[in-house]
């Protein structure tokens, strides 16, 4: 009941800017100095699609996300969002960073408000922040400073800040990394709930295969081939079944084993 109400409230607060956008990555490469990190990455994400990016630590997941978000520049190839070539920050894109990165001198509520798009009316902004805080379960902590909340709460604040933007493309870099298993699952459900009411194209970086299989329409596996320095897309998997998915299904178990093997982990060796 409450979810429906809150969903309605958020939907009512939709700022009408969030038409989900198409993200197209073409021949993307990124080298730091002469060390290639990404090579020849091609990916097309349909409007409203949720794509999870899996990969080992250091495989360039954050780098890819930062380039799509306009925070870093590719050394080869292009990224387009709805046919606009990305060259800097695009105000339809919102980013949830790998670390919460909250402004320590602002309260939780003011940190969420920091994500509001410019030009939004004061009252509308305040209502939106209140609804988002309720959504991520932090309404009781609206007045707290970041140093007075836990790491998991800070990550939820960071997620709410990104959602406040009402983005057409939502880039999330391990948004639930600091959460315990239970909270993590709840937050995954919650994110899906938000996306139901306010559909957005989502690129979600994670190193958690389970999370990718629960949340994503497709899973992209980034990795380095033995004879190459830069990471490429190793595999793109379409996850079967409508959400919420049964975590125990045999089909998913098979995919899970496949992805874990792709990450270089042999399940049977454990």
């Amino acid at each position: 009941m409450a979810a429906v109400e809150l969903g309605d409230r958020l939907a009512g607060l939709s700022l009408g800017r969030s038409t989900p956008a198409t993200v197209r990555v073409t021949g993307l490469g990124r080298a730091f100095g002469d060390r290639p990190v990404l090579e020849g990455v091609d990916l097309e994400v349909a409007p409203g699609e949720i794509v999870a990016i899996l990969g080992a630590s250091g495989s360039g997941k954050s780098t890819l996300l930062r380039i799509v978000g306009g925070l870093d520049a590719a050394t080869a190839g292009t990224v387009t969002i709805d046919d606009h070539v990305v060259a800097g920050i695009d105000d339809r894109v919102a980013i949830g960073f790998q670390e919460p990165r909250l402004l320590p001198w602002r309260t939780v509520a003011d940190n969420v408000a920091y994500g509001l798009p410019s030009g939004i009316a004061k009252d509308a902004g305040r209502a939106r922040v209140a609804a988002l805080l309720e959504l991520v379960g932090l309404d009781d902590f609206a007045g707290h400073r970041p140093r007075a909340i836990s790491g998991g709460m800070a990550q939820r604040t960071s997620l709410a800040r990104a959602l406040a933007r009402d983005p057409g493309v939502l880039l999330l870099d391990e948004p639930f990394g600091a959460l315990d298993a239970l909270t993590r699952m709840r937050m995954q459900d919650l994110l899906l709930g938000v996306l139901d009411t306010a559909p957005t194209t989502v690129l979600l970086v994670t190193h958690d295969v389970e999370e990718a299989l629960q949340v994503a329409d497709r899973v992209v596996l980034l990795g380095t081939e033995p004879d190459r320095a830069g990471a490429r897309i190793q595999q793109i998997v379409t996850v079967p079944g409508a959400r919420p998915r049964d975590r125990g299904s045999a089909e998913l178990a098979e995919l899970r084993a496949e992805l874990l093997a792709g990450l270089g982990i042999d399940r049977h060796a454990h």
């Binding site: 009941m1 409450a2 979810a3 429906v4 809150l6 978000g69 925070l71 920050i89 105000d91 919102a94 980013i95 960073f97 670390e99 990165r101 402004l103 320590p104 001198w105 920091y114 994500g115 798009p117 410019s118 959504l135 991520v136 379960g137 009781d140 902590f141 140093r147 007075a148 909340i149 836990s150 790491g151 998991g152 709460m153 939820r156 800040r161 933007r165 239970l182 909270t183 709840r186 937050m187 459900d189 919650l190 709930g193």
Partner: protein
């Protein structure tokens, strides 16, 4: 399960537990025992000055002085000198003119230091342009400016205010430009990612980040301002606490010298306390 249960990511109890885990971070160690009492701390702070006053008094008891009066004036003599100068109107005039010079010079120097520190800290261009030049200027010993300023501006107010401003400029400039270099890049990136341009980034991230350093710089600058004031007044003035010092020296008036030293200490401490109060308020607001 109700919908609200799935919606709430954590129960209140889990939040409380999370918060408990978070609590020790960034908190000051609680003061323990008698030191928790502010009155006790004030009394402790007053202890050494009072003991020194007692020793001073004991060494200079009129009639039975261990140190002869021409070497050291007694506390009573200093007090009387103060009353005497006050009655003649000199004391108020001297203190007021010195305070005026410090405040004017401090305001001008600190304002310029903020601007220059901001430019050098925020812009590579200004860093290359201004950094080396200001580094050279800073290397000039402060007293070396005095003859030049006196030739240019005579022994008027300007020469003193400018010297004080030079003294106040550098601590502010240095702390602000350094602090801006060390602003968390991640937060600057957040500002950009959420659509802030140069000014918006400065106001929402860089300025709040460097405020504590700004206040440190301002307090150092105030100390320097008093230092440079005395230098200016010692070397050429007809009024002021520094002039009281130099006149006392040439007349052999130890009571005047000691009085000027005590007044400078009190004035410096009082002006610093005002800044410390503002700093405390700012730290609560922006940390």
């Amino acid at each position: 399960m109700t919908e609200s249960a799935t919606l709430r990511p954590t129960s209140a109890a889990a939040d409380a537990a999370e918060l408990d885990a978070a609590r020790p971070r960034g908190r000051r160690r609680p003061r323990r025992g008698a030191l928790a009492n502010p009155a006790v701390r004030v009394a402790l702070g007053a202890l050494i000055p009072l003991v020194l006053l007692g020793i001073w008094w004991a060494l200079t008891i009129p009639g039975a002085a261990i140190v002869p009066p021409y070497r050291f004036a007694s506390p009573l003599a200093v007090w009387q000198a103060g009353v005497d100068l006050a009655e003649r109107g000199e004391l108020g005039r001297f203190a007021a003119i010195s305070l005026q010079r410090v405040l004017l010079g401090f305001a001008a120097g600190a304002a310029l230091g903020l601007v220059a520190g901001g430019l050098v800290g925020l812009s590579r261009l200004f860093e290359s342009l201004l950094g080396p030049f200001l580094g050279i200027v800073r290397a000039v010993p402060s007293l070396a400016w005095v003859p030049l300023l006196i030739v240019w501006f005579q022994i008027g107010e300007q020469s003193k205010v400018i010297l004080v401003a030079i003294g106040a400029f550098f601590p502010v400039f240095t702390t602000v430009s350094l602090a801006l270099h060390h602003v968390d890049r991640g937060l600057v990136e957040v500002a950009r990612a959420f659509g802030r341009r140069t000014l918006g980034t400065f106001l929402s991230v860089q300025l709040p980040s460097v405020l504590p350093a700004v206040f440190t710089g301002l307090r150092l600058a105030l100390v320097q301002a008093w230092l440079f004031l005395v230098a200016a007044e010692l070397l050429g003035a007809s009024m002021g606490l520094g002039f009281l010092l130099s006149r006392g020296q040439s007349n052999g008036r130890l009571d005047h010298i000691l009085l000027a030293i005590i007044l400078l200490a009190v004035a410096g401490k009082l002006t610093d306390s005002v800044l410390a109060l503002v700093q405390r308020w700012a730290a609560r607001r922006w940390s």
